[in-house]
Symmetry: C2
Subunit: 123 residues, 2 copies
C-alpha cells in the first residue's frame, strides 16, 4: 500500500497532468471535499472529479512542501494561472489507502497593516 506521502504527491502530480483516471483512483468513492473560505462542500468522487475537469483556465500546480503521518497529509503548493503565481495548501485524511477528505485553502495577497515597519522587511 502506498504511503500517505506518496498518495499526496500523486494527487498533485496527476492533477497537473490532467490524468483523471490516476487522480480519481486515489479517492474514496464517498470522499468529502471542502473549501472553508467559501463554505463550499462537494460530496463524492464523481462530483469532485467533474468539479476539477470543469474548472476553467490553464492552471498549473507545483508542490513546495509535503508533510505526512499515519492519518493526515498536507501539500503546500504553488499555483499558476494567467500570469498569477501564488501559494495554496491542501490537507488530506485517509482510510484504507484512499483519500477520504480533502480541504484546501487559497490565501489572497494583502498589504501589511501599519505599525510593524520597525520589525519587518518586505520582498
Amino acid at each position: 500500500m502506498s504511503s500517505n506521502r506518496e498518495i499526496a504527491e500523486r494527487f498533485i502530480a496527476s492533477l497537473e497532468a490532467r490524468d483523471w483516471a490516476a487522480w480519481a483512483g486515489l479517492l474514496h468513492p464517498d470522499v468529502i471535499y471542502e473549501i472553508p473560505q467559501s463554505r463550499e462542500r462537494i460530496r463524492g468522487r464523481d462530483r469532485y472529479l467533474r468539479f476539477n475537469q470543469e474548472y476553467p483556465g490553464d492552471w498549473h500546480l507545483r508542490p513546495k512542501v509535503v508533510i505526512a503521518d499515519e492519518q493526515h497529509a498536507v501539500v503546500w503548493f504553488e499555483w499558476r494561472l494567467d500570469g498569477r503565481i501564488d501559494d495554496a495548501m491542501v490537507f488530506f485524511e485517509f482510510a484504507g489507502g484512499l483519500i477520504t477528505r480533502v480541504t484546501d485553502f487559497w490565501p489572497e495577497r494583502y498589504e501589511p497593516p501599519s505599525g510593524r515597519e520597525h520589525l519587518v522587511e518586505r520582498w
Copy 2:
C-alpha cells in the same frame, strides 16, 4: 529531544498562553519568519518575539490538525479575534531541536464563483 510534532504543538500552546519564555525557547536565534501573502519577513528571535508581543487585540488560537515529519511540521489552527473565527496555518522547519523557519498563511473568506452550483453545497 522533543519531536517536531511536540515542538509545533508547544508553539501554539505557548502563544495562546502568552508564555513568551517558553515560546522563544522553541526558536533558533536566527529564525526566519515569513508571511507570503503580505511579502513580510522578520529576521531573528528577538524581533519575532517583539512582533508577537506587540500584536494588538485579544487573539486566541486553537490547533485543529498537526502533521510533522523529520524536517517539517504544520499546524492548521483556528484563530479568534473580536468575534471573528477563521482558519490559518503555520509551517515550520527545524534544526537541532529548534525552529529555524516559520511561514504562516491567513486565508480570507470569499464568495464562490458562479457556475459550480450543480456540484456544490454551502454551509
